[in-house]
């Protein structure tokens, strides 16, 4: 039997495939949270990204790579614009970040802005014209085991592999990265040392939006063959949980994203293998695991070791007494 068709390899390959949008969104949220801004609007921003990517894909004509790049870019920009709402509310107006983030998901999410955009664009019911297909890198796609995992993925997966080391280098090895961590940890310290707290928080909330948008685009350009209202079905929430699970570290977000990707893919993989269980069981697995993970990381032991930014979710006011 072909080694690359064994259950483990198939599950691992599809874990990467399904984990990638989670990875984009959670690295984005992680950067925002490192600057001290908690954005619960990830689900909403992803859906805006999904619908704008799909719309671009249906309306732009040209070679695949041009259309797809444009679609991802449009998705990132649209979600960035959405996250700007949260940035203004949370940073400039010092609103409660939990309320603001929830409002963003309700406003932009399923049955909200993204659904409206999809409906006026008549996107429902049409098969997509362009999609991210697996690329056989260096012709190594048939290599045993590593082939399907590493050398036969789509362009966004490869991009996410660049994103993680980039985010790590940025956070741990650069001066702006040190500033972001300081702004999230102790904004008064950063301010006293001449770091512009509001600017850092704005920029990272917007980066978080852009990456959530890319994650959303992945759903409508790589996973689902057509646009459906609410198509990310909770991936944004899983991404937020992943940030905690990853102790606010990009390298662990990668592990977490693929773990959840595996749970998401189990349903399809096992059904294809004629393992018959009620589909509800598999479909509920990622959400069940979210709860399990949150219970685990909320225990005393984990809390002590967690690297939560000390000023996460706390607005910064300089003149206060």
């Amino acid at each position: 039997m072909n080694l690359n068709a064994t259950l483990l390899v198939v599950i691992a390959a599809s874990a990467i495939f399904y984990g990638t949008p989670l990875l984009f969104a959670s690295v984005g949220e992680l950067l925002a949270e490192r600057s001290g801004v908690l954005n619960l609007g990830v689900e909403g921003m992803m859906l805006v990204g999904a619908v704008s990517a799909f719309w671009t894909g249906q309306h732009l004509h040209g070679p695949d790579w041009v259309v797809l790049s444009a679609a991802v870019l449009v998705a990132a920009l649209a979600a960035t614009a959405t996250s700007l709402i949260h940035a203004v509310l949370a940073v400039s107006l010092r609103a409660n970040q939990i309320v603001s983030g929830l409002a963003l998901t309700i406003f932009a999410g399923a049955a909200g802005l993204s659904s409206y955009l999809g409906n006026i664009g008549h996107l429902g019911g049409h098969a997509r014209l362009h999609e991210f297909k697996a690329v056989d890198l260096f012709g190594l796609g048939q290599t045993p085991i590593l082939g399907p995992l590493v050398f036969h993925q789509n362009a966004l997966v490869y991009a996410s592999w660049l994103l993680v080391p980039l985010a790590m280098f940025y956070l741990y090895r650069t001066r702006p990265g040190l500033h972001v961590r300081a702004v999230g940890e102790s904004p008064e310290t950063a301010d006293a040392m001449g770091v512009n707290v509001a600017a850092y928080r704005y920029v990272h909330t917007l980066i978080g939006g852009a990456l959530a948008g890319v994650g959303g685009a992945y759903f409508s350009l790589a996973i689902s063959p057509n646009w459906v209202d609410g198509m990310t079905s909770g991936a944004g929430w899983i991404a937020i949980a992943l940030v905690i699970f990853a102790f606010w570290r990009p390298e662990l977000a990668l592990v977490g994203a693929y773990l959840f990707g595996a749970f998401s893919s189990l349903a399809f993989t096992l059904q294809a293998r004629q393992v018959h269980l009620p589909p509800e069981v598999f479909n509920s697995l990622p959400y069940l695991m979210t709860i399990v993970v949150l219970v685990f990381v909320s225990t005393g032991w984990a809390k002590r070791r967690l690297g939560a930014p000390a000023s996460l979710g706390v607005p910064y006011v300089r003149e206060e007494r």
């Binding site: 301010d191 006293a192 040392m193 001449g194 690297g307």
Partner: protein, 507 residues
């Protein structure tokens, strides 16, 4: 200080208002190059506001700032830093999870590119540390450092950023007497180099000890600047408070009873972080006695208060109130045994800030008659009780229905003491009961504690203010890293020796 030195910072007509208060009211101030200039005043006199204006954290509503004679306008702290003004805040501006060197790297741009080069910074930190005799490990993380070490990091950081003018806000409040002496030596070294030191304090002795000149602030106004050598502590105190101050409150001929009201045996407890906070504490508190717990902040004081009052579980050992053992973490049992508690964090744990004064006053016995009968709270009786306590404890409030958070710190503390003392307790645990209060409120809180002791209440006074403990306590226990370093009678107490115990040297 050399005669005829040039002005380093000049403030003219500074006005700063906050909702409801004028924090700075047309203040003129001038510090000369190479001098140590003390800014003396009570809490709320406007010292911190003035220094925040000098460092660009606040912007004045009116007035001008000159640095070395040149007018400046600060929009943010980085502008003040660029003008050579550095500040050591009372609450340190350090990111706790960062290393020392990383904290130094914040906001600096001297290296090319965005790469973070910590090696060079570490070397320069070590050089500075050596030059100013303030040893510090540049690779240590801030949370691992003692308060004294953190302060060194803050001072070095200001020097690293090229500060010619250094402002220190109440720098000795968390230091042992010896650490404070070291700090003063460093400040003299800096002034000898021609740097200007502005030293904010409300402690007369240290102002007399370290400064060249003193500017006194009261209620947002400047009362003028005097040469330290030409003044006396008594005169400064009168200027600062606006009247003569009674330096001693302790009544003569006060006797301590024989009955043991509170007994701690081999008490062990953990901090919130799971580290050992109390390490085999043995203490006895007698009727009518004030036992002072001295120590630098964070040596187990908070955990001690919480374990005794049943708010924190203990790992081992026992707590007994009048011979009856405390079961575990059960505040209600502690209350029923006659334990009263004035916590350190008065607006967090002490009172419910949004509830009215009347509601806060019944928080401990709302369950019992006469306040509650047949399961209903009798608000007519609550009103009577509140009116009575407000009068007896001299609480200044518009009405008993005023939300407690609107009161001044001193009045919040009186509400708290009124509630705790009105239930005729056996033992009162008071943690930093006068922190942040002005002189008048401090006096009335202290006399309430003394009155309670005179009635036979055992008072456990936990305070980081050694002077307060020396003023009030009959015996003094020093806590260091969760251990009792020794217990001494006040009559035999020696500040030098207490300071050594506070720094961990065994007796």
């Amino acid at each position: 200080m050399t005669a005829g030195a040039a002005p380093a910072v000049t403030l003219r007509g500074i006005v700063k208002q906050f909702p409801g208060v004028v924090a700075n009211d047309h203040i003129d101030f001038e510090a000369l190059q190479g001098e140590i200039h003390a800014l003396l005043g009570e809490n709320g006199a406007g010292k911190s506001t003035l220094s925040n204006i000098m460092t660009g954290l606040y912007r004045p509503d009116q007035g001008e700032i000159y640095v070395h004679g040149v007018p400046v306008a600060f929009h943010a702290p980085r502008d003040a830093l660029a003008a050579g003004i550095g500040m050591v805040h009372q609450h340190f501006r350090l990111a706790a999870s960062f290393t020392v060197a990383e904290n130094f790297a914040l906001g600096t741009h001297e290296s090319r590119g965005v790469r973070l080069e910590l090696g060079g910074i570490e070397r320069r930190v070590s050089e500075l540390a050596q030059r100013y005799r303030m040893p510090v490990n540049p690779r240590a993380r801030i949370w691992q450092l003692s308060v004294g070490e953190r302060q060194r990091v803050e001072i070095l950081k200001a020097l690293y950023r090229g500060a010619r003018i250094l402002i220190l806000d109440e720098p000795t409040s968390l230091l042992t007497p010896q650490e404070a002496d070291n700090l003063f030596a460093t400040l003299r070294l800096m002034s000898a180099e021609g740097r200007t030191v502005i030293f904010i304090s409300h402690k007369l002795e240290e102002v007399m000890a370290v400064s060249d000149r003193v500017t006194i602030l009261r209620r947002g106004r400047s009362l003028g600047t005097v040469l330290t050598a030409a003044t006396t502590p008594r005169e400064l105190a009168r200027l600062m408070v606006g009247r003569d101050v009674v330096f001693s409150l302790k009544p003569e001929g006060h006797t301590v009873g024989e009955t043991v009201l509170l007994e701690l045996r081999e008490l062990y407890a953990e901090s919130d972080l799971g580290t050992v906070a109390l390490h085999g504490v043995n203490l006895q508190l007698h009727a009518g006695e004030i036992l002072g717990i001295a120590g630098v902040a964070g040596n187990g004081q908070r955990e001690l208060a919480e374990v005794i009052t049943g708010m924190r579980p203990r790992v081992a050992g026992s707590v007994a109130v009048a011979g009856i053992p405390l079961r575990g973490a059960d505040p209600r049992q502690a209350i029923d045994l006659g334990l009263a508690h004035v916590p350190e964090d008065r607006l967090g744990t002490g009172v419910a800030p949004s509830l009215t004064i009347a509601d806060n006053l019944i928080l401990k016995d709302y369950r019992r008659p006469p306040i509650t009968t047949a399961g209903l709270i009798r608000y007519d009786r609550v009103r009577v009780r509140a009116g009575d306590l407000i009068e007896r404890f001299d609480i200044k409030a518009v009405s008993p229905q005023t939300p407690t958070r609107l009161l001044s710190g001193g009045n919040v503390q009186k509400v708290l003491l009124a509630r705790e003392l009105s239930g005729s307790p056996r033992v009162l645990v008071a943690a930093s009961p006068t922190r942040g209060l002005d002189v008048a409120a401090t006096e009335s809180v202290r006399s309430l504690l003394l009155q309670a002791a005179a009635r036979g209440v055992g008072v456990l006074l936990i305070s980081e203010d050694l002077d307060e403990i020396l003023t009030l306590a009959d015996r003094i226990a020093v806590l260091y890293e969760g251990r009792v370093m020794g217990v001494v009678d006040r009559a035999q107490a020696d500040v030098e020796e207490l300071g050594l115990m506070m720094a961990g040297s065994a007796r």
